[in-house]
């Protein structure tokens, strides 16, 4: 498993002054570039309305926690939050479950069509979303008209759509993790009388927990941040944060302090999760590029 914490693998030569100074300058500039929006988000969310309506101020003239209270009243943010949570959690659970089975099949069995399957699934990741947005919308509308199953505008339709978005990467990552678990372990389990599913759930899954957690975070992030399909496939009662927050920020009279507070609130769960698990995620996300 490729891990990123091996500082010993650095180049052995002592770095010359020119290198160290280049490093200091470039990395400082990058740090400013990366953190400026984060600072703006944080500082503006603590400003009063007056402060964000005039010329920009680096330091708030007074600190106010009111934006964090007002966001729940000006727009139905709690409702959007709940929608996003239901959709993202469901999509994550189903996507990871489906990915575990598929990855187990690809990792442990050799069968005709194995390569075609992996290539097809991965290549769907690269297609422009706009390409299947229109037909999918029509399919959902027509399924609703003919069978009464409401996929268009419902959370169910969004869940099904989102779970396929994270599926290719999830399968890819999990195949890598499963491959690194010795096959002798599941053979031993089979000798002990486990079927293939017993071997999967008693041996492979427990051994791949870090990988599975990373895949969960990835799937959740994908669903939580999706904008395009949410903008077409939701209505006022199923609206997710992506659409709700964007509308919040494009009103005629935008309360920027509130919008920044809301942006911060919806970002904290995913950023925290990502940073906590970054070691596993990074290994999985980049495994394909490194291979």
């Amino acid at each position: 498993m490729p891990m990123l914490r091996t500082p010993e693998q650095a180049s052995p030569m002592a770095s010359p002054k020119s290198f160290i100074w280049t490093r200091r300058i470039v990395l400082t500039l990058l740090l400013l570039f990366v953190l400026t929006p984060v600072y703006v988000m944080l500082s503006s969310s603590l400003k009063s309305l007056q402060d964000v309506q005039g010329s920009f101020k680096w330091i708030p003239s007074s600190f106010s926690y009111h934006p964090y209270i007002d966001i729940w009243k000006t727009v139905p943010l709690a409702h959007y939050f709940l929608n996003s949570l239901i959709v993202s959690v469901s999509a994550t659970v189903f996507s990871v479950a489906v990915a575990i089975f598929a990855a187990y099949g690809v990792s442990r069995y050799r069968f005709p069509g194995r390569r075609i399957f992996t290539v097809t699934v991965l290549s769907t990741q690269m297609f422009p979303g706009i390409l299947f947005l229109l037909p999918l919308y029509l399919i959902f509308v027509n399924i609703g008209n003919n069978t009464g199953i409401h996929l268009q505008g419902s959370r169910l339709g969004l869940i099904i759509t989102y779970l396929t978005f994270s599926l290719p990467f999830s399968i890819w990552m999990l195949v890598g993790y499963f491959d690194s678990i010795p096959r002798d372990l599941d053979e031993a389990a089979k000798v002990d009388g486990c079927g293939p599913f017993g071997a999967l759930f008693r041996v492979v899954v427990p051994a791949a927990v870090p990988g599975i957690v990373a895949v969960c975070v990835y799937a959740f992030m994908t669903a939580w941040g999706e904008v395009l399909f949410a903008s077409v496939m939701t209505n006022s009662s199923t609206r997710t944060l992506a659409v709700g927050l964007r509308e919040y920020a494009t009103q005629n009279d935008v309360y920027w302090n509130q919008v920044m507070a809301a942006s911060l609130v919806v970002s904290v769960p995913v950023v925290a999760g990502f940073l906590l698990l970054q070691r596993y995620l990074v290994a999985g996300l980049t495994a394909g590029a490194v291979k």
């Binding site: 769907t124 690269m126 944060l241 970054q278």
Partner: protein
């Protein structure tokens, strides 16, 4: 796992008993074997079914409706929509007519945007990864901070940038005009010519961390001995970077640049959150252009035709790219 004997010996565990078994045993064997062949397919079935439903079927369906006259009137009974033959394609590529002209303009804007965004993201990612190859104090913290743009939900990040680009209350104009006095008045960033540069800034901010990540991982795979040997030969650090690091990163770069290209070329989220449904002409990326010509005018037929053209273009570019880079790689290996 305990070593208790299974009540019934599994077929893999007891192949010796097979020969002496009677006909009853043979009958059982066929389904077992079938099950073994079928098992991997059964495992893949849910994934395959979902990919079919959400990606493959809609894509085929999209190609079909690109040949139809599918307007708002036919949306709930699309099979009654009349065939349009190649009309939708003709409209899309008649570059002297308004529709074709707008599409071509959007295509060129997207090309320029993609080349600049991918190039800058790759450059910044490479620089940061190489500069952070050696360990130094604060390296782990810095790496975590650099991943924040990648981890933030797209809309939260882009909305913040939109606030920074506001003409009267934004940070950008405050710094450029009020603090540095570089401009005589406060320019608009979200409309007009500047909108292209605003969009590019946000795009690079968002995508360079991925390049950084992939290249950091790629650097881990370079054997330490290479650097030691080069150092013994008297190569300085800059020469080591040029002669060892960059060539070793070539396989990573091959995949990375392609992935960045496809993501950036198809980017919808950034312009949509920044500009809404009608992006300024100077920042009218292809995805948002197609979205607008489908969902704002409800002309799904021509929107699908444009999507198919986009797909063809991406397939050709990807194929040519892979062909060229793979040949160069095998040349280099030989």
């Amino acid at each position: 796992m305990t070593a208790t004997a299974p009540p019934r010996s599994a077929p893999e565990a007891g192949p010796s008993g097979g020969k002496s078994a009677g006909g009853g045993r043979l009958r059982l064997r066929v389904p077992t074997k079938l099950r073994q062949i079928g098992l991997p397919y059964l495992l893949l079935l849910p994934a395959l079914a979902l990919e079919l439903l959400i990606h493959i079927v809609p894509m085929v369906f999209g190609i079909v409706i690109s040949f139809k006259k599918l307007t708002l009137f036919y949306i709930s009974h699309w099979n009654q929509a009349p065939w349009a033959n190649f009309d939708n394609y003709h409209t899309a590529i008649k570059f002297n007519q308004p529709v074709g002209q707008a599409l071509l303009h959007s295509f060129w804007v997207t090309c320029a945007f993609t080349v600049l965004s991918v190039g800058l993201s790759w450059l910044i990612g490479t620089a940061a990864a190489i500069l952070m190859q050696d360990s130094f104090r604060g390296r782990a913290l810095l790496r975590a901070i650099f991943l924040v743009p990648y981890a933030l939900p797209v809309y939260a990040a882009v909305i913040t940038w939109t606030f920074m680009f506001q003409q009267d209350t934004g940070l950008v104009n405050h710094v450029l005009h009020d603090q540095l006095h570089l401009t005589s008045n406060k320019p608009f960033w979200l409309i007009g010519d500047n909108s292209f540069w605003a969009l590019l800034t946000v795009s690079v901010w968002k995508s360079w961390p991925f390049a950084f990540l992939a290249l950091m991982a790629g650097l881990q795979n370079i054997p330490r001995e290479l650097y030691e040997a080069a150092a013994m030969d008297g190569a300085g650090i800059w020469q080591q970077i040029r002669r060892i690091t960059m060539p070793s990163l070539r396989p990573v770069n091959q995949v990375l640049v392609l992935v960045l290209f496809l993501w950036t070329f198809n980017d919808f989220n950034t312009p949509y959150v920044m500009f809404g449904q009608s992006a300024p002409k100077q920042a009218d990326l292809i995805s948002i252009h197609i979205y607008q010509s489908s969902f704002v005018t409800w002309n799904f037929g021509s929107g699908s035709a444009m999507s198919v053209l986009l797909l063809l273009f991406l397939l050709v570019v990807t194929a040519v790219y892979l062909l060229l880079t793979s040949r160069r790689r095998s040349d280099a290996d030989a």
